[in-house]
Amino acid sequence: MINMSPTTEKSYGLKVVLPSLSILVLMIIMVLPYKSSLISDIMPFLTLIGVYYWSVFKPRMLPVVVVFILGVLQDILLGSPIGLMPLLLIVVQQFVFFQGRQFLERDFIFNWVVFVMLVMGYGLLYWAITSLYYKTLLAYLDILGQIFLTIAFYPIITWILGLIRKVIK
């Protein structure tokens, strides 16, 4: 865990909100009307990438309460049951902390491999909770598509988030 003194935190100024803001923009990108059945059904979990990335690289700028608020906002924009997304995103963040984020911080490929496993678990949990909520077994094929597309989008999104991280530094 990074040991930052209060003065160091203060020096970030308004840049402190950049991680949350970037996740918010990813969230809005997820709900734009793309007019394509392919994108509509297998939209990648962009906010998951955001939460994972910032939890690894700037955890102090993404406290659990912010993840909770972002999750609720995503539920509101998506039209999903409120509580679903905060639950999933907080679990992801805690998984990163549990794994030891310094370990994940080192190597991109290793980081990506861990993310692959994480996104599979996320997809499974997403499907299971939603099925439980609707009391019916929902189709899982589209979720597989979402998982694959999220894995494919990971390098692009993290590259963009990396640019934001450089601004924060």
Partner: protein, 286 residues
């Protein structure tokens, strides 16, 4: 100690999320009101982020339209000639229909177009099929209003804020629409299951259906006016499971109309002919 504190906070928010999930299920109206107020704040932000996508789409659309303009022109000329012929026949049928309805004193419901709206956002999720439109309470939109376009039924309003509203699409798992087969008039329920094709509930066992059969709204339930196109039978499995293709391409929506349908009361005795006339601001369905 700090790590313990963080874990405690995380556990608290996980429990809070679970509580919201359960609370939202049982106390739906409160949650929906809060949701409506918050998503309204996001509409301007969504529209700003959407500018590059819209510009790209507009440009590619313009190029493709230019490319097909000649073939389209020829096709439209032929179609226009056919439609002119059909218009003459339809007008005769409409006049006959009105005359017969007047004789039987049948009252139709009134259909009012509340507003035309633009699609602002889409759920883009395999589990939730809804869209956000940029009209709300200020334009007269209410929960339960039907949402249609020139091709047919799209869904219904489930959540309204002042300047925006959420539309539950007809392929959402929570969507149920009372419909009928256009050929036989047999009433059925069309249910969404989050896939592009809809399924039929409460199908009479002795009813025979063929691929291509048209499905229209039945007018029951009071949300959708009767005889709006909903879809057509696209697949019948060996086990008799019927799949319906919606008449509207739900992934290609730009603008939609919000309509209000007021179901007609039963005809009463000693009614004058004037009562059967349409309201000035309402369109009367034949």
């Amino acid at each position: 100690m700090r790590r313990f504190g963080q874990s405690f906070t995380a556990i608290f928010f996980i429990i809070l999320s679970l509580a919201l999930l359960i609370f939202g299920r049982s106390q739906n109206t409160v949650v929906e009101q809060v949701r409506a107020q918050i998503f309204e704040l996001f509409v301007p932000a969504i529209m700003v982020v959407d500018i590059p996508r819209e510009a790209t789409e507009g440009l590619s659309g313009w190029v493709s339209r230019i490319a097909i303009v000649y073939s389209d022109n020829e096709f439209l000329r032929e179609e226009n000639a056919k439609l002119k012929q059909q218009l003459i026949t339809s007008t005769e049928i409409i006049i006959d229909n009105i005359r017969l309805k007047n004789l039987l004193k049948i009252k139709d419901g009134t259909l009012t177009t509340i507003t035309a709206s633009r699609i602002v956002s889409d759920s883009n999720s395999p589990f939730f099929k809804s869209m956000l439109i940029n009209s709300g309470r200020n334009e007269g939109v209410k929960k339960g209003h039907a949402v249609v376009n020139e091709e047919g039924v799209i869904g219904r309003i489930i959540n309204v804020a002042n300047k925006s509203a959420r539309v539950l699409l007809l392929n959402d798992i929570n969507s149920r629409i009372p419909v009928k087969f256009s050929k036989t008039g047999v009433n059925i329920i069309l249910a969404g299951n989050n896939s592009p094709l809809l399924r039929i509930d409460f199908m009479p066992t002795d009813e025979r259906v063929a691929v291509g059969d048209q499905i229209l709204t039945s007018g029951m339930g009071g949300i959708y006016p009767p005889d709006l196109p909903v879809g057509y039978v696209s697949q019948i499995s060996d086990l008799g499971e019927i799949k319906v293709q919606p008449s509207v391409n739900l992934n290609r929506l730009n603008y939609v109309s919000v309509i209000e349908y007021e179901i007609a009361s039963f005809p009463q005795l000693n009614t004058t002919n004037d009562e059967t006339l349409p309201k000035p601001d309402a369109e009367r369905r034949p």
